[in-house]
């Protein structure tokens, strides 16, 4: 894969309307390699549409979208080969085991990994060993996410898209997940997470953007070890949300 010149996730001046409603209106946003971007915003601000555009589900009317140098609107399949996507509720096949689910998802993506490699990824994703060959039926959301992240790790995709990954997770699972995410970042993956959870975003993100009326209304970068000033974040984004 040639090294992309731009950031793995690169949206600039993207505009999209559903009917007469302008959902994205000049959205510009970059996520660099090995960084996590948390996208916050109220309902209808354009968060899910952003993901849809990146996944090639929706084609923007104007602007530029690049996933590792590829326009998903032109070649969705090529873009998706470079993306791992976790929806809010990672629903997998209940009557397949964790391993089989991973194996199947890899097969669907056109990849094949040895059992050892898959189990290694499970370990890296923090899935307990006794769950590896268990049916997924009784898995918690956190465990399902770990299976899906393991698949993403195995696919070695440059881009990871997350939709509300921490909603419904208990604080401990959230912490676990954030640790896992940090290790994913460590591998050079560009991570975009759409979330409501300011705390979690502040905990793990390198950059936090707030989308309102289809564009980035405000953006804050982590500042050194202190990362974010939560109080300031609240003050800034609560205002944006009220405006949206």
């Amino acid at each position: 894969m040639p090294e992309p010149v731009s950031a793995p996730i690169d949206l600039s001046a993207v505009a999209l309307s559903y009917g007469s409603h302008r959902v994205l209106d000049g959205l510009t946003l970059q996520v660099a390699r090995g960084s996590i971007y948390a996208l916050l915003g109220g309902n209808g601000a354009g968060k899910s549409t952003t993901l849809s555009v990146l996944l090639g589900f929706a084609k923007p009317e104007a602007g530029r979208v690049q996933i590792a140098g590829i326009d998903p609107g032109a070649d969705a399949d090529a873009a998706r080969r470079r993306i791992a996507y976790l929806p809010e509720n990672v629903a997998l096949y209940e009557h397949l085991s964790a391993f089989e689910n991973a194996d199947y998802l890899l097969a669907l993506s056109g990849e094949r990994q040895s059992r050892d490699a898959v189990l290694g990824a499970f370990a890296a994703a923090g899935l307990q060993e006794r769950a590896w060959d268990q049916r997924l039926g009784g898995f918690s959301k956190g465990m399902r996410q770990k299976v899906a992240i393991a698949v993403a790790l195995l696919r070695e995709v440059p881009v990871l898209l997350l939709d509300e990954p921490t909603s419904g997770l208990d604080p401990r699972a959230t912490a676990d997940f954030n640790t896992l995410l940090a290790s994913v970042r460590g591998r050079g993956t560009a991570v975009l997470m759409v979330t409501h959870d300011l705390m979690s975003a502040a905990d793990v993100a390198d950059r936090i953007g707030c989308i309102a009326a289809g564009r980035i209304a405000d953006e804050v970068a982590a500042a050194g070890r202190e990362r974010f000033d939560l109080r300031e974040l609240h003050a800034r984004f609560a205002g944006e949300r009220a405006a949206a």
Partner: protein, 416 residues
């Protein structure tokens, strides 16, 4: 390969899919079995003609031999004709359960004989046969609906659809799953048929055409199911919509078309032919016999050298007025046949718009069990009847005696 195994496992985990395929397999075997049994029964009935017929002829021959009157032989001897089922008939019994496939005729007026039917139980005929064509035309779409109505909506309802769609090659996923389901339904429906078709020595061309038509028909329903599925409603709504479409396409519209066609192409000449022919035949008794003979010789000059009629009854006059009676209604017969063909053609036209009708027409057409095949059988009977008449005329118009040995010289029907 691995991916197909996963798909198969996922499919077979669904109780509905397994149940549907198992039921379809049972029905498919039963339909072909029932068709084969019916065809075997019909072959058996045709094979069973010879023995009693031989005894019948022997008894008549013994009796006729006393006077050696060819007329008596012609009057009393019934000659069997039959329409053997084609190798493919097991797949589509068509009209063979209500139209005769065995008919005995004698050298008298044919128009009073050719419309006769055989014994059949109308209550059994009313709902139609359970054969391969029924399975394919009526039942297969229901199974397609059962397996395809939730192909995409099921994943959506399970919350997996968006993630699956976000995978590279998501289109291939749906295609693969559709192909797997199609392949299974197709295999389960076609396997018993193909075995039976090979066993019955059905011509390869017909089998190939049916395989293609069946695939196209299933694909039509699959396309409909996917189209409905794309509208984004729930699996439940999809199932209801598709079942409604099935009802309309296989039951409601064909019945409406039937009413429309029978209204547009009225046929009431059938019994009128029979009435007119009888009038003509019986009127011969009221007119000078020479007049009948003149009419007869006009169209059959080869016998005009026959000696004139004496005062006594002579069968050549009797057979002549029967033939004149037939010929007098020839135009009505043509109109009647044309009407039947027109109705048939109209139904075939409807078949272009209604796949179930089109497929049924194709199957019965290939199997030779449709109206056209019935009319063709009637044509063969007519040709045979012409030979019969000529045969008896050869004795009657030359006053040759007709002895026991002459019965064996009578033309024999060449069964198809």
């Amino acid at each position: 390969m691995r991916i197909w195994m996963y798909e198969a496992r996922l499919l077979f985990r669904a109780r509905l899919a397994v149940g549907a395929l198992a039921l379809l397999a049972v029905l498919s075997l039963a339909a072909v079995g029932a068709g084969l049994a019916e065809v075997a029964r019909q072959h058996g009935a045709i094979a069973a003609i010879a023995e009693p017929q031989k005894q019948d002829i022997a008894a008549i021959a013994a009796w006729v031999d006393k006077d050696k009157d060819a007329g008596s032989a012609a009057y009393y001897t019934f000659h069997p004709t039959w329409d053997a089922p084609s190798p493919l008939a097991f797949a589509a019994i068509g009209m063979r359960d209500v139209s005769p496939y065995i008919l005995r005729v004698r050298a008298l007026g044919l128009e009073a004989q050719i419309y006769d039917g055989d014994v059949f139980n109308p209550e059994l005929a009313l709902p139609g046969r359970f054969d391969f064509s029924f399975l394919l035309v009526f039942l297969a779409p229901l199974f397609v609906i059962a397996l395809f109505h939730d192909l995409i909506s099921g994943e959506r309802e399970a919350g997996r659809a968006r993630m699956l769609s976000a995978l590279p090659g998501a289109r291939r996923l749906w295609f693969r799953r559709a192909l797997l389901r199609f392949g299974l339904v197709f295999a389960v429906i076609m396997a018993p048929f193909l075995v039976a078709a090979i066993w019955s020595a059905v011509p390869v061309g017909s089998v190939a055409l049916i395989v293609l038509a069946a695939a196209a028909y299933l694909l039509f329903w699959i396309a409909l199911a996917l189209l409905v599925g794309r509208l984004g409603a729930s699996s439940t709504a999809n199932a209801a919509t598709l079942a409604g479409a099935w009802l309309v396409l296989t039951l409601v519209l064909p019945t409406l078309a039937h009413v429309a066609i029978n209204q547009a192409v009225p046929i009431d000449q059938g019994s009128e032919i029979a009435l007119a022919q009888r009038e003509k035949v019986n009127a011969a008794w009221e007119i000078p016999r020479e007049e009948t003979m003149r009419q007869f010789y006009a169209s059959h000059p080869q016998w005009s050298g026959s000696p004139p009629l004496g005062p006594d009854f002579h069968y050549k006059w009797y057979l002549a007025f029967h033939q004149v009676g037939d010929e007098s209604v020839a135009r009505q017969v043509q109109a009647y046949k044309a009407g039947l063909k027109k109705r048939d053609a109209a139904a075939r036209t409807v078949g272009w718009a209604l796949p179930p009708v089109g497929l049924q027409a194709l199957l019965t057409g290939l199997a030779g069990t449709d109206l056209a095949a019935q009319l063709a059988y009637q044509e063969r009977i007519r040709a045979f009847h012409r030979d019969l008449r000529e045969f008896y005329y050869g004795y009657l118009f030359t006053d040759r005696p007709f002895a026991k040995a002459d019965f064996a010289k009578a033309p024999r029907f060449e069964g198809s």
